[in-house]
């Protein structure tokens, strides 16, 4: 086991923003930290990295308390940050030096990553008309996507053993999303440990085996993604017919989750109910064009878990408010 997070807690005054987070990365790969906005993902990452002190729990790396300053960690923060008025090369060399990478090695790696991430023109400005090199680009002259690439370079320059990516794909166009995905895949193949937080569930499904879903600081779901999905069973049924089939749906009392031109998504209790439904469709000659029975997607699980937790919280808050009002009346 390489990274182990045990009962990590963070409080601001009376408010608990991370409540006993525990998970482990037992082998190289990508671990997903998911949650709604304000769930406590970034705070958890900051505590893991030692940037923010915790109010309880511990983080172990190779069985010993982890200190990001002692080890080689790469970090791509959610809030991208570069010095707006400094040259990009200077900034990258500085970040590399802080990681203990020599200037020469850093330059070699910058050259490699600049080519890989297609940002050479910003770091190595081409010669202008008078054969004089153009002025090097400053960070604020770059688009958001290109700034993100420079940030990813900074995170990768030290060839980290643990790479933490907080929302790495947010704000990227499809081309650059694929570029980033390719790099994440490469890092996985190199046997690196990665922690990734993202709102793009399809991407998480693409890379991650293990996940934790946080809601308001609390862990609402955790484990192996495939096992979680299996535990739900094949309850999502997608059906498209040439003829209307609402009467058949009503007959089987199936809830419609989604209704699109591409078909209907229905919720079933399991395979026997789905097969009975299909047999009725065929019997009634509704000309079935599409029939798919599968496990819920991560997106659906996330919405269900985060949504349920949110509803619970709201109900609790409403109850408390009600009690408060009542109490007020009593006092009067």
């Amino acid at each position: 086991m390489s990274l182990e997070v045990k009962d990590l807690t963070k409080k601001y005054g009376e408010k608990t923003v991370v409540d006993g987070l525990s998970f482990a990365l037992e082998k190289p790969g990508v671990y997903a930290l998911l949650g709604t906005n304000g769930a406590g993902k970034t705070t958890s990452i900051r505590m893991i990295l030692g940037m923010l002190s915790s109010d309880g729990g511990q983080v172990l790396w190779q069985g010993k308390p982890m200190d990001a300053m002692h080890m080689n960690v790469g970090y791509l923060a959610e809030e991208r940050g570069l010095y707006p008025k400094y040259e990009l090369m200077d900034q990258l060399l500085y970040f590399a030096r802080l990681k203990g990478v020599s200037r020469e090695t850093a330059k070699e790696r910058i050259a490699y990553w600049a080519k890989r991430l297609e940002v050479e023109e910003y770091l190595y400005p081409p010669k202008g008309k008078g054969r004089k090199a153009q002025k090097p680009k400053l960070a604020d002259q770059l688009s958001k996507g290109n700034q993100q690439k420079i940030q990813l370079m900074a995170a990768l320059l030290s060839e980290p053993e643990l790479l933490i990516l907080d929302e790495p794909l947010s704000g990227l166009d499809p081309v650059n999303t694929d570029l980033f995905k390719g790099i994440i895949r490469e890092e996985m193949e190199k046997g690196k440990y990665l922690i990734m937080s993202s709102h793009q569930m399809a991407t998480i499904e693409e890379f991650c085996e293990d996940i934790t879903i946080l809601n308001r600081g609390k862990t609402v779901l955790q484990g192996n993604l495939n096992e979680i999905k299996r535990s739900y069973g094949r309850v999502n049924m997608f059906v498209k017919c040439d003829k209307p089939f609402e009467d058949v749906i009503e007959k089987h009392h199936l809830p419609v989750i989604n209704d699109t031109p591409d078909g209907k998504q229905l919720k079933v209790t399991g395979e026997p109910q789905a097969l009975a439904f299909l047999q009725d469709l065929l019997k009634e000659q509704r000309q079935v064009v599409k029939f798919e029975l599968r496990e819920p997607s991560l997106h659906e699980i996330f919405v269900e878990k985060a949504g349920a937790a949110l509803e619970q919280e709201e109900a609790k808050a409403a109850g408390a408010e009600q009690a408060g009002i009542g109490g007020g009346h009593e006092e009067k």
Partner: protein
């Protein structure tokens, strides 16, 4: 190997210094100032020499003297020298003065001056110089002539009562008054008890305050801007996994200190080169009144030794460090660049208080309304000490003992401030929201102290919960 809280300060220092030096504003200001200083002394000397060398001939063509004193004075030699070559000097009967003035008023473009000398009953000689309203004579020209004539008259009236040249020189010797004090043992001590300081000393003290103010302001502003930039751009998020907050602030303060020292060293070297150029072009010992004034300051510093210089330099450095930490703290209280002015109020207020105490003391010293005790207190107070103590020490206005005490107090205060900053800086650097006030910062420190030793409570300011970006 355990990396301390200060590991990485060298990298921060090198990067901050490099970026500051690379800035166009820094290079532009440095070059401009150096050029101005390089040109200042030779140009000043040249202008002074030109003024000295050019003897402007007077426009006055005639001077008529009406003397009612009854003294037997020969006025033919009243206006001597090249300036007055060609000026006709005539003594006239006193009774014709009024008529002569009348005719002078009626004349067009007359270049004559009439001087009327009489002895007043109150016991003084009165010299009245008259020129025509329409005369094309400059006031400055007339005033110079009046001054020169008065000088002649001063000697001439004494000679008129048969005083010889040697006796005249003896009488004209300057009078110097010196008050000496007797000690308790009844001995006369040579130590002077001065009520106030001279203008030269006043200017020297003021210059000392202004120089330290420039040091503090330049370095403090640079540190605060750097901290706010890192916070507002979120670069700090990346930096914090590699260096601790204290290493960040130490690196920045030292870089700011270095750039300011480089600037002042460059200005000093340029001044010396400028003096060298002036000497090469115009010869040694030449210079304007201002330069002679500065040589007066150098005379004031004649009693300075290596110890006092080092003590004054140490005081300035520790003072810049002290205010640098305040600037860093003020910078960390701000989350957005546009709120920087508001956040820096704390830093600016402390600096203004410190420097104004220095300026006020300086004025009081000149007026002689201040006791040694007040000077010593101002030299020991941490806010004013960096501004007041160095110049006062170099000019001998405070003793070495006070200076040592002042330095020790400032070092202790700087260490305490540093320790306080270490407690709150980490919490402040991640704080995102409205500008933190002093009471919020104190609350953060209090929360940390109240937290158990093992629990490192971050201590967001009361009512100022950190914003989370999930």
């Amino acid at each position: 190997m355990r990396r301390s809280d200060y590991t990485g300060w060298r990298e921060v220092y090198a990067f901050s210094l490099r970026q500051e030096v690379k800035q166009k504003s820094f290079k532009g200001l440095l070059i401009l100032m150096c050029l101005i200083i390089l040109a200042a002394v030779p140009v000043n000397t040249w202008l002074w020499q030109r003024d000295q060398g050019e003897i402007e001939k007077t426009q006055v063509s005639r001077l008529t003297v009406y003397d009612e004193t009854g003294l037997n004075i020969d006025y033919s030699q009243a206006l001597a020298g090249e300036r007055y070559a060609g000026v006709e000097v005539a003594a006239a009967p006193a009774e014709g003065f009024e008529a002569h003035v009348q005719s002078l008023e009626e004349s067009q473009d007359s270049r004559e001056i009439i001087v009327h000398i009489r002895y007043e009953e109150a016991g003084y000689f009165h010299l009245t110089f008259v020129k025509a309203v329409t005369a094309q004579l400059k006031d400055k020209d007339c005033e110079q002539l009046a001054g020169d004539f008065e000088e002649f008259f001063q000697d001439a009236r004494i000679r008129a009562v048969d005083v010889g040249q040697e006796q005249l020189e003896f009488i004209n010797q300057p009078v110097e008054t010196k008050v000496e004090y007797t000690t308790e043992e009844g001995e006369i001590t040579s130590e002077e008890k001065e009520d106030g300081i001279s203008m030269t000393e006043y200017y020297a003290l003021l210059a000392g305050i202004v120089i330290v103010m420039m040091f503090v302001n330049m370095s403090g502003g640079q540190i605060a801007l750097s901290v706010v930039t890192e916070k507002s751009t979120k670069v700090v998020e990346y930096l914090m996994i590699n260096v601790r907050p204290m290493a960040l602030i130490v690196g920045k303060i030292l870089a700011a200190l270095t750039t300011v020292l480089v600037q002042f060293a460059a200005y000093g070297v340029c001044y010396l080169i400028s003096c060298g150029i002036s000497t090469a072009l115009f010869g040694a010992g030449q210079g304007s009144a201002e330069l002679q004034e500065s040589s007066g300051v150098l005379e004031l510093l004649s009693g300075v030794n290596a110890g006092t210089v080092m003590m004054a330099a140490a005081m300035i450095l520790v003072g810049v460090l002290f205010y640098g930490i305040v600037a860093g703290l003020a910078g960390a209280s701000v989350s957005k660049m546009e709120e920087m002015a508001e956040g820096l109020k704390l830093y600016q207020m402390t600096m203004v208080i410190g420097s104004y105490v220095g300026i006020f003391l300086c004025i009081m010293q000149m007026l002689g309304n201040v006791s040694d005790a007040v000077v010593n207190i101002c030299c020991i107070l941490p806010l004013s000490a960096p501004f007041v103590m160095p110049a006062n020490l170099l000019l001998g206005k405070v003793g070495l003992g006070t200076a040592v005490l002042s330095l020790v107090v400032l070092i202790l205060c700087t260490a305490a401030l540093f320790s306080f900053t270490a407690k709150v800086y980490e919490s402040m650097i991640f704080y995102n929201g409205n500008v933190l006030k002093l009471k919020d910062i104190l609350q953060i420190a209090k929360n940390r102290r109240m937290a158990p030793a093992e629990s490192n409570q971050t201590g967001a300011a009361p009512g100022k919960e950190e914003e989370h970006h999930e």
